[in-house]
């Protein structure tokens, strides 16, 4: 049996930014100022959107919300590493990749409200957004099915001979699913241009990673499938960007798939329906708070004199204005027209649904139940 060397990239943790905000000079790519600021601005933007929208859920304005607080680095780094033709098969915490890739915030928020401006016609829960404009598909709530789908999309790209790359996301819990195993197996056999990214945030609702697997790391599983694997500090946006961009570029150039474990931490609840104080310690949360990806990059940017108070204030004001405007646009809209529930079940409205629709519309609308 081959023993992996201790410095195997699936066992170590690739990082660039230290917790104090200084960068490892061996690894720092000295990215352009605009790229660094864009990373920071996008992470901050997502955090502020999440804060505001969780508040809306608490006020009863939206039914459900899942924040990604503490995990902003991976979706932002990925979004900034992709080309417009690339495909994203998200899990629960990657809806924001759409925003990073330029999807309009008001349309994205309309999906959270499920109202008449929602391009999904009120069908999907929040955190399940999708948008053809940015090639991001609808996530399936059962854990894992998007992973083989991402491999299939990449096989399709290879078959067509185009240069698009597919990125499939999952959480740590998803690596227990047969779908993960099957997707990794097929990615290894066919070597299509796919990058599979596991955001290991330590918790699947209340179940810690050590109850999901006894594997030393998740990244090390790549070896068993004949895949390239990398484990990266998911709270270090520079490191994640480096690793994801390298994997995406490699996949695009025919170098095959990569499985990336991005080690991070879910600072907030699993969703608006969860209270994490029941199963994890405050100490643990505080330890991870010190590794906050936004604060870490901020320290780096301040040291490099790329960010100062005035710039930060400007960013915050810009985000606030964007969010206020987007909410004003969509918050008070009514629900989608009730006739739309029959649409898109099939490519064309079949006769039996035409009949049902006519009968349904002849009845007065059902009243909204008040709980």
């Amino acid at each position: 049996m081959r023993t992996l060397p201790p410095d195997d990239p699936t066992l170590t943790l690739f990082s660039i930014l230290r917790e104090d905000g200084t960068a490892d000079p061996q690894q720092d790519a000295f990215l352009p100022r605009e790229t660094l600021l864009a990373m920071y601005a996008q992470m901050l933007r997502i955090r502020r959107i999440d804060e505001r929208m969780l508040g809306k859920q608490r006020q009863g304005k939206v039914g459900f919300y899942g924040t990604i607080t503490g995990q902003e680095a991976t979706p932002v780094a990925t979004g900034l590493s992709l080309s417009p033709e690339d495909w994203v098969f998200p899990a629960l915490r990657e809806a924001a990749v759409m925003l990073v890739r330029g999807f309009p915030l008001s349309t994205w928020l309309a999906q959270v409200y499920g109202n008449e401006a929602d391009i999904l016609k009120g069908r999907q829960m929040p955190s399940h957004q999708s948008g053809r404009a940015v090639n991001q598909v609808a996530w399936s709530s059962c854990i894992g099915p998007q992973i083989p789908q991402a491999v299939g999309a990449a096989m399709a790209a290879k078959a067509r001979g185009d240069r698009s790359v597919s990125v499939g996301f999952m959480g740590d819990g998803a690596t227990s699913q047969p779908d993960f195993h099957a997707a990794m197996t097929m990615a290894g056999i066919h070597r299509p241009p796919v990058v599979l990214i596991c955001q290991n945030n330590h918790w699947s609702i209340s179940v810690p990673t050590e109850k999901q697997t006894a594997s030393a790391t998740l990244a090390v599983k790549a070896h068993a499938y004949g895949l390239r694997g990398v484990r990266v500090d998911g709270n270090d946006v520079l490191a994640v960007h480096h690793v994801v961009k390298e994997a995406v570029d490699r996949a695009r150039d025919g170098g095959g798939p990569t499985f990336i474990e991005s080690l991070t931490y879910r600072m907030g609840p699993h969703s608006s329906s969860d209270d994490p104080t029941r199963y994890r310690s405050q100490e643990e949360v505080e330890t991870w708070a010190k590794r906050d990806p936004i604060a870490r990059l901020e320290r780096y940017l301040r040291t490099a004199e790329i960010l100062d108070d005035a710039t930060l204030e400007g960013l915050e004001a810009g985000i606030r204005a964007e969010l206020d405007a987007a909410l004003a646009e969509v918050e008070e809209l009514g629900p989608p027209a009730r006739a739309t529930v029959f649409e898109d079940v099939f490519a064309a409205l079949p006769p039996h649904l035409q009949r049902q629709q006519a009968q349904f519309l002849a009845m007065p609308p059902a009243q909204l139940a008040h709980h």
Binding site: V137, P145, Q149, A159, R160, A182, M186, E343, D344, H352
Partner: protein, 328 residues
């Protein structure tokens, strides 16, 4: 017209569609080098190569999911399950993903995919190889469910399935693969629309609705009744979703009696759905309760002598028909 087997009719449909449309590919267990566990994909690997006839690892959820992803991004996969029994491992990909993706994305991502393979009992293969899965899949909005009983229908319906924009559950009768029948010449490029029943035999005394594997047994029973001077009308809906209710109801309005014959278990399913539609839409025309002849409501036994009892056969079909005709 020429006479070919149901198996070759399916193969021809795939080969012609792959020839016509480079987006079509076939994937499944044993479909390539081995030419299919039931030899339905015979010759396809040689004709189209390993990029388009893909031997999948034993991971139904995996290759079904790969197919869904490929379909969402523009290809037209034909996914073969070695038998539909094994589709239960991929149920989430079919029901939660293929069937709902178009609706969940409000029309942004269509899933033009065909899942196909042999359905129902296949002679002494036990309960885990003998499911008639149509009730599971017929319950799901967003799926088309097809189950041809003749070579001509098999070919024409599979071509329609591959050309369509919706996910299709395409059920094949394992014991029908060797059945021969007349099929139009290749040049005719015949497709058969979904939702149009075929009148397999015209008659005036009672309507028998049947699809897939039990169809030949029903036609034999109809011959027997004909010798007694009783003319049965046999209707094969061909597609269960969409279901050609109009043809069934029109026939019942003519014959005033109806028996539905199916291999799936009797609780619910398309069998019960057809009975419901007939009683709603032809109530005043019925001279007898609508009856069903079905498999027994038990998991399939292995022993040949027991399996024959469990599968719906000529005896139970005939008894149900006699009952609606009040012939004791």
């Amino acid at each position: 017209m020429r006479e070919i087997t149901y198996r070759d009719a399916l193969k021809e449909a795939m080969a012609e569609e792959m020839e016509r449309d480079p987006r079509v590919f076939v994937m499944g267990e044993e479909v390539g080098y081995y030419q299919g566990a039931y030899k339905v994909t015979r010759g396809l690997l040689e004709q189209f190569g390993p990029e388009r006839v893909i031997d999948a690892p034993i991971a139904e959820a995996g290759f079904a999911g790969v197919g869904v992803g490929a379909a969402m991004t523009g290809l037209r996969p034909v996914i073969e399950f070695m038998t539909w029994n094994f589709s239960l491992v991929a149920f989430d990909q079919i029901v939660n993903n293929a069937a709902k993706m178009y609706q969940m994305s409000a029309g942004q991502f269509s899933v033009p995919i065909v899942f196909r393979g042999p359905n129902a009992s296949a002679r002494q293969v036990g309960s885990q190889h003998s499911h008639a899965v149509e009730p599971f899949y017929c319950n799901v909005p967003g799926l088309h469910v097809v189950y041809p009983s003749t070579p001509r229908d098999a070919k024409g319906l599979l071509k329609t399935a591959i050309r369509g924009s919706n996910p299709v559950v395409f059920l094949e009768g394992e014991t029908l693969y060797g059945a021969k029948g007349l099929v139009p010449e290749v040049a005719e490029d015949e497709t058969i629309p979904f939702g149009k029943a075929r009148i397999a035999r015209e008659g005036k005394d009672a309507t028998v609705v049947v699809w897939g594997r039990p169809t030949p047994a029903v036609l034999e029973v109809a011959e027997k009744f004909a010798r007694e001077g009783i003319e049965l009308e046999v209707i094969d809906p061909r597609t269960l979703r969409p279901l050609d209710t109009d043809s069934i109801v029109a026939s019942v309005k003519k014959t005033h009696r109806c028996v539905v014959v199916h291999e799936h278990w009797p609780f619910g399913g398309p069998g019960a759905e057809i009975v419901d539609r007939v009683q709603r839409e032809a109530f005043d025309h019925l001279d007898a309760p609508v009856l069903r002849a079905t498999n027994l409501d038990v998991p399939m036994p292995y022993a040949a002598g027991l399996e024959t009892q469990v599968i719906v056969g000529a005896d139970r079909i005939e008894a149900a028909i006699r009952k609606v005709l009040y012939l004791g």
